[in-house]
């Protein structure tokens, strides 16, 4: 009962039948990308790949927020953690991501005050408890997370809080889709669009991308029946030669999305160029804090001396995030790089493609 609207979407009979329909419909070999890390995990956990015909190849995209965070931003987090007046508040995923010289976890072992929080409001509470310290929240995530950070900044301003800051490394999904379409060597036949980014953006959020590229796009939920339905619709679009932007997750995603969340996000942030691991700099694909919230902007407030960023040696995360390589094609996968001792962010994050392959494949 507590899984209402999830249980039904795990019905094995419906899943099996959808898989049969995919097998019957799909003739041409196609490459589909699931953009979201939660999809990657769900596809593995429910063994979706084993249900699909050989014609369908699923690739994992740049949808794990920690994984796409640029090395220079990881280095900035570490530099912030080293400041004696700072308490860093972060989601847990970031702790073990290796920067050029260190990681947040190593900094904590060396004495830095780093707190793992579940929501930005926990970070605001820490700020209230430590008026003599500066609390810096590490802002990593897509359109789903950015409104929650915006909410905390708006609340911080209302409360007149002077010791709360955000370092914004947020990223936007539609500009990344566009970059992927233009990326050399990435030939994609369709996108399994993220579920919860779409809750915020709505179907309309992808309209201009779709109109420019005419590539099959289906907004998809996270349960097995959702995912198979998304793949079925993509396969049908390819076979019939009629690309469309479809919403296969209407119980969660509307045409216009969550406008209240977007208004708050727009009030606090503005689009800016951003560097992505694997994809490089993408125009207007990130969010920076607006001048009206400058007092809360860690990037403006702190002077950060950063090392020349160097990505982990031998790590193929960049190629994995664009679908150019799969984890077994990385020489370090499972030999040197494991979840216990990760070399790159794609193995660190629970949503990372390398971590998913490690856990679920032989």
């Amino acid at each position: 009962m507590s899984l209402k609207h999830a249980q039904e979407y795990r019905d094995p009979v419906i899943a099996r039948r959808l898989a049969d329909r995919i097998a019957a419909a799909s003739r041409r070999p196609i490459r589909l990308m699931e953009v979201c890390g939660t999809h990657t995990m769900s596809i593995f956990r429910h063994g979706i790949r084993s249900l699909l015909p050989e014609t369908i190849t699923l690739l994992s995209g740049p949808g794990c927020p920690v994984c796409v965070t640029a090395q220079s931003d990881i280095d900035a987090f570490i530099a912030l953690a080293r400041k004696p007046e700072v308490i860093v508040a972060t989601f847990g995923d970031l702790m073990r991501v290796p920067g050029t010289e260190s990681s947040l976890q190593l900094e904590r072992a060396a004495g830095a005050d780093i707190r793992i929080v579940y929501s930005t409001f926990d970070a605001l509470t820490i700020a209230a408890e430590h008026p003599d310290k500066k609390i810096v929240f590490m802002g990593v995530g897509f359109e789903t997370t950015a409104p929650t950070i915006a909410a905390s900044l708006s609340a911080a301003r209302d409360m007149g809080r002077k010791n709360f800051f955000v370092f914004s490394a947020h990223k936007l999904v539609p500009p990344a889709l566009e970059a992927l379409m233009n990326f050399p060597g990435v030939a994609l036949d369709g996108f399994i669009l993220p579920g919860h980014v779409s809750v915020i953006l709505g179907e309309d959020g992808y309209r201009s991308f779709f109109e420019r590229f005419s590539v099959p796009c289906v907004i998809t939920g996270f349960e097995p029946v959702d995912i198979l339905q998304g793949i079925f619709r993509l396969a049908m679009q390819v076979e019939s030669g009629t690309p469309a932007l479809e919403n296969a997750y209407p119980r969660a995603v509307t045409a216009e999305g969550n406008q209240k969340a977007r208004q708050l996000m727009d009030a606090v942030f503005e689009p800016a160029d951003a560097v992505w691991r694997g994809l490089g700099t993408i125009a207007q694909s990130g969010l920076k804090i607006r001048a009206t919230y400058a007092d809360f902007d860690a990037a403006r407030h702190f002077d950060l001396a950063l090392p020349e960023p160097v990505e982990p040696k031998g790590c193929a995360c960049g190629d994995i995030l664009t679908g150019a390589k799969t984890p077994p094609e990385c020489a370090l996968f499972k030999t040197v790089c494991t979840p216990m001792d990760p070399v790159g962010p794609c193995m660190v994050s629970s949503e990372g493609t390398c971590a998913a392959y490690y856990r679920y494949t032989e």
Binding site: S2, E8, C36, S119, F121, T148, A151, H196, V225
Partner: protein
């Protein structure tokens, strides 16, 4: 970072709610929703409810899929 399953609001006071996530109780902030009441099913991300599940559409989609499955069961 995404909680893929919906949660139920079991208590509410102002913008703060207690939710039930598959049997586990957690706090959730309701600031990003227009309206939400005890008993509603919501999608929660990083401590914030971001969407109220559309029950009607949830049931419609599944019954449509179930019918399609039964139909293809009968026509192998």
């Amino acid at each position: 970072m995404c909680l893929a399953i919906p949660s139920k609001i079991v208590q509410k006071s102002g913008n703060l709610a207690v939710i039930d996530v598959d049997g586990v109780r957690r706090d959730a902030n309701l600031m990003l929703l227009e309206d939400a009441e005890v008993g509603d099913w919501v999608i929660v991300h990083a401590g914030f409810a971001i969407h109220k599940i559309d029950e009607k559409s949830a049931l419609e989609t599944i019954s449509f899929l179930r019918e399609a499955a039964e139909f293809s069961e009968r026509q192998p």
